[in-house]
Amino acid sequence: MIDIRQPIGWLFALLGMLLLIQGLGSATAAASRSVGFNVDACWGAVMLVFAATMLALAWRQRRRAGTQG
């Protein structure tokens, strides 16, 4: 059975990346809409950190279990 941390990690990595790109790509529009700072980029980055944590935990679990993925 797949470790659930993997799909979570990959999903949030993709979503975080999309948000980050959107945020960086249209900095002025994003800032004016949401109380003065670039939420898309910020939150995108936060999600990427979360994704990395999930994938790291999954990777560590795989290493501990040996070659059984």
Binding site: M1, I2, I4, P7, I8, W10, L11, F12, L14, L15, L18, L19, Q22, G23, A29, A30, R33, S34, V35, V39, D40, W43, G44, V46, M47, F50
Partner: protein
């Protein structure tokens, strides 16, 4: 609502990615479904932290999210009682005291436990009422979603329902309960990440917690209450006129805190199924406890936006809740309207996907519970006793399809007859409240027998109906809201009437079950082993570190919730 909002390509992309993942997970997990136990109970192999988050997420349908935000706007901090007085103690009780019987009895469902403990007719009563309720519940969820997406995005009501129904159907058909559980965990994180920015941005807008308190004081005073009525959870429940919810502390504690919450969290198979899927007894006991952590923090995610929304509306400075045609505020639109107001494209897509995800996880929970109870507790015992495991697996998949179709039918029924939702609220209360009394007696009193349980359940349900027929909430018209027999008592609010209906139902079931059991034969003690507290050897937690023991974790959860209650006193 000033027209529908504009979604950009990024928002569509986010939604598409999510749907792809949800279906992909189902496809990957299909290989693991070999037996009916795999399909219905994930082969009892889920780790506690996963089962715990799924446990929480299955309960977290969009109605919870939208409803709690609406309540936050309408009633303020007192709404937190649903979580801190209602849910948490019930979850702890389930984990520490009831899980050993659910998991230890090897019952595959809640109705099956009733058959093992009591008899066939008690099981039948529960199985049939549960399947009906769960399908209707699923239908209501879909209807609400169709309505919301239509209002918000201009999407065709039918199209959005069918699209989501097909996706949920696909991933459950493929991967069974495991698929539902994995997606529920995914949906949980999506909901957290999708709505948390709303809290941050809203608080930023209103000036932090102190700004919020000041704004809420204005709301309270404008409606004739003390300034703290919206921001304090205990100080204003001495009497029904002190708070907007119209409740007093006893009705709240007994009705909501005890009967309704314990009735739901401890007996609703949709929830319990996730704990039954855990990989071991100790994992099963830890599952509800794991869920208490996010559950106790959720008020900050769902109730707070509602409170912020009403404070901003009162302020009149920019953001405002839309009004219904009759002039009253449309509280149900808190989350959608705030999403549109604060989120730029990108985050908007995330928030909408989180909303859709919460509808889907609610629906999936109902469908997996339905297909299991149908196959194991109605089809197998009454229609086809001795077929092969492969046949029951096939029936489970067929039941999944039927469940989804029936939910859609229910959704259309609800859209045609709006009062159905009120009727259903009642039915849930009538059925769930007495059920909890039945379980308490079943698990902790070995003298309770089948006849007692069955008659008690019936009596409790009738008592609930009678109480409802004889009482009316203030300002309501006799009919679906109550008083259809005669109006002998008027309650300050619908919520108060609800709590007291539950109290009467539970008490009646308790008393009648005890009486009828005492008048009849005691059940055979040897048959009760593993099903009743006094007949089950104590679970030896000897070699587990103290911090992992359910009793310890449960005590910690209760202590945390005590602190939260005091903080918002």
């Amino acid at each position: 609502m000033n027209g529908t909002i504009q979604l950009g390509p990024i928002d569509w992309a986010i939604m598409a990615v999510y749907f792809a993942f949800v279906l992909g997970i189902g496809a990957v997990l299909r290989r693991g479904v070999r037996t009916s136990e795999d399909f219905f109970l994930s082969g009892r192999s889920i780790p506690a932290w996963v089962a715990g988050l799924a446990f929480m997420s299955a309960n977290l349908g969009a109605q919870e999210v939208i409803g709690m935000a609406a309540s936050g706007a309408k009633y303020g901090m007192i709404t937190s009682h649903f979580y801190w007085i209602g849910a948490i103690p019930a979850m702890v009780f389930l984990a520490v005291f009831m899980m050993p019987f659910y998991y230890g009895s090897r019952a595959r469902s809640v109705p099956e436990y009733l058959r093992l403990r009591f008899d066939e007719k008690t099981r039948g009563f529960n199985a049939i009422s549960f399947t009906l309720m769960t399908v209707m519940s699923s239908g209501i969820s879909m209807y609400a979603m169709g309505l919301l997406l239509n209002l918000l995005l201009g999407w065709d009501f039918s199209l959005s329902m069918w699209l989501c129904a097909v996706i949920v159907l696909a991933y459950i058909l493929l991967g069974g309960l495991t698929s539902a559980i994995y997606n529920e965990v995914l949906q949980f994180f999506l909901i957290v990440f999708g709505f948390a920015p709303l809290v941050f941005l809203g608080l930023h807008d209103i000036g932090g917690w102190s700004g919020l308190q000041a704004g809420l004081a204005k709301v309270a005073v404008a409606q004739g209450y003390a300034p703290g009525a919206w921001s304090q959870s205990w100080q204003h429940i001495g009497s029904t006129s002190e708070n907007p919810m119209g409740v007093e502390w006893f009705g709240l504690a007994m009705g909501l805190g005890f009967v309704l919450s314990f009735g739901y969290w401890c007996t609703d198979f949709l929830i319990v199924q996730r704990a039954m899927a855990a990989e071991s007894m100790s994992a099963a006991r830890r599952t509800p406890l794991v869920a208490t952590v996010p559950k106790m923090l959720f008020p900050f995610l769902v109730i707070l936006p509602g409170m912020i929304a009403i404070a901003l509306t009162q302020d009149g400075s920019g953001f405002a809740l839309p009004a219904k045609p009759d002039g009253s505020l449309n509280y149900d639109l808190v989350i959608p309207v705030m999403l549109v107001h604060y989120f730029p494209n990108g985050l908007l897509g995330l928030g909408l996907t989180a909303l859709i995800a919460s509808f889907m996880s609610g629906m999936a929970g109902n469908v997996t519970a339905f297909n299991t109870v149908w196959t194991n507790d109605i089809y197998r015992p009454y229609l086809n006793r001795s077929a092969s495991d492969a046949h029951y697996l096939w029936m489970g998949r067929l039941a999944t399809l039927a469940g989804v179709l029936l939910s859609l039918l229910a959704a259309y029924l609800v859209s045609a007859f709006n009062n159905i939702m009120d009727v259903l609220q009642l039915v849930f209360a009538f059925i769930n409240a007495p059920l909890f009394a039945t379980f308490l007696l079943g698990m902790f009193w070995r003298r309770a027998n089948g006849n007692g349980a069955f008659v008690g359940l019936l009596a409790g349900t009738v008592a609930a109906a009678l109480h409802h027929g004889l009482s009316l909430p203030a300002h309501a018209v006799a009919g679906i809201k109550g008083g259809w027999l005669a109006v002998t008592h008027v309650y300050a609010s619908e919520m108060a009437q609800n709590f007291w209906t539950a109290i009467f139902a539970w008490s009646t079931c308790m008393v009648i079950t005890i009486l009828v059991s005492l008048l009849g034969r005691a059940p055979d003690r040897s048959a009760l082993r593993g099903l009743v507290y006094s007949e089950t050897p104590r679970v030896d937690a000897g070699d587990e570190p103290a911090w992992r023991r359910p009793a310890v974790l449960g005590a910690l959860a209760l202590a945390a919730v005590l602190v939260l209650n005091l903080a918002f006193w």
